[in-house]
Amino acid sequence: MALYREQGVVLRSYKLGETDRILHLFTQGRGKVRAVAKGVRRSGSRFGGRLEPFSHVDVQLYEGRELDVVTQAELITSFASVRGDWVLSACGSAMAEGADRVAQPDERSNGLFLLLLAGLRALSDAPAHPAVVLDAYLLRLASVAGYHPYLEGCASCGAPGAHPVFHIASGGTLCAGCAPPGSQPLASPVRAMLGVLADGDWADLGAGLGATGPDARARRAAGAVAHSFLAYHLGRPLRSWELVPR
């Protein structure tokens, strides 16, 4: 029985049998781990509320044939405020779903681990615009997964500058000469918003980018582009994203 200890974030959980749960954990050292938390649904469980989704935990597990088994769990950050508000919870679920789809077993990714924690921390700060925080996370998740959107020039010919078309399959903006016929140009506030989603500070994103920031329509349109970009590379959309109130 090989015991190991890891820091991780609970991405999601499923009921198993009468009192157990299967957890998807994203760990710092071993990538995605699927593990059983035995008895966690009992009211007197020794794990209590430590293994709820979004919890950042220090866990001890032993290796099983198909599923590992959690033997101990200590809470580092609970992110309980994210679970306690349905809008934040929906945003957190979309973050966790995205991480669950990108993460692979035995493939460590410090970038993804830090991004997930930064996203959850930004949500736990009770942002005025949680959906903007989510959309920034999704665009950055695509970057961490190896699909960084090229917004600084034309993704095809390399011509520098702000170009009118965002072409998902090409991986970024395209100049008028390279854009396929019939491409829908992005309004300039939407293009600007995409840049902010890719590089903006988490606190500014949560605050809605101030009084002079993009309007609600530009925020929504940029969010839809960010989600479509990630969904294209993941092969299908995120179920949680559709349910996030905007």
């Binding site: 509320g49 709820e52 809470l75 508000d85 349905w86 919870s89 679920s93 779903e97 349910l243």
Partner: protein, 197 residues
């Protein structure tokens, strides 16, 4: 593979939740060795439950009639509603004998990661009951997990906007447990929900 009816029975039992192939086989052979009357009684109970049990038109609890036993009971407080996720949660609360109002069963909980949004639950029907039944308090008794908390938060927003007093069942330490083994979230909740003695 077994022959005909034995294999059919194992296959059908194996479709039940939590019953794997080995358990299905064990159950099937138990039934085969049982008295014929025992098997008939089980078959009758399954058929009767499927044919006679429906959902209460008012609260969506399981019922044999149009309205369930609790909705028909005139001694219950008709102005206080307790909202639960499933009929089995209602039964758990009934066992405490602490609540004398009526119930509303949502039929699940909001779970964005599973694609379950508010429109998939009996929330519209709950809002319709508020006016029709002159409800003065709604108690949210969804599970204290991520789905239950999201559902309670969603309902609290909706109900507060309408102006109906809304409360949430307390959560905290289990009776008989030790404080030192309580996790930080549960202990924190127990403190937040402390009451004056």
């Amino acid at each position: 593979m077994y022959e005909g009816p034995v294999q059919d029975l194992i296959t059908e039992l194996g479709r039940l939740p939590g019953v794997g192939p080995k358990s299905a086989q064990r159950l099937a052979f138990h039934l085969l060795s049982a008295e014929p009357e025992d098997a008939r009684r089980l078959a009758r109970a399954i058929l009767e439950a499927k044919e006679r049990v429906r959902f209460c038109r008012r609260c969506f609890n399981v019922s044999e009639r149009e309205e369930c036993r609790i909705c028909r009971d005139a001694r219950r407080d008709a102005h206080v509603l307790c909202v639960v996720e499933e009929p089995r949660d209602l039964q758990a609360i009934e066992k405490t004998a602490e609540f004398r109002g009526r119930y509303h069963v949502l039929g699940g909980a909001i779970s964005p990661i599973d694609g379950v949004g508010p429109e998939r639950l009996h929330i519209r029907e709950l809002l319709a009951r508020l006016d029709a039944e002159d409800i003065t308090e709604v108690v949210l008794a969804t599970n204290p997990n991520i789905e239950g908390e999201a559902t309670a938060s969603f309902l609290a927003r909706q109900l507060k906007a309408i102006g109906v007093p809304v409360s949430r069942i307390a959560s905290g330490l289990p009776v008989g447990g030790d404080l030192e083994y309580a996790d930080e979230v549960t202990l924190g909740r127990a403190f937040a929900g402390r009451r004056t003695l």
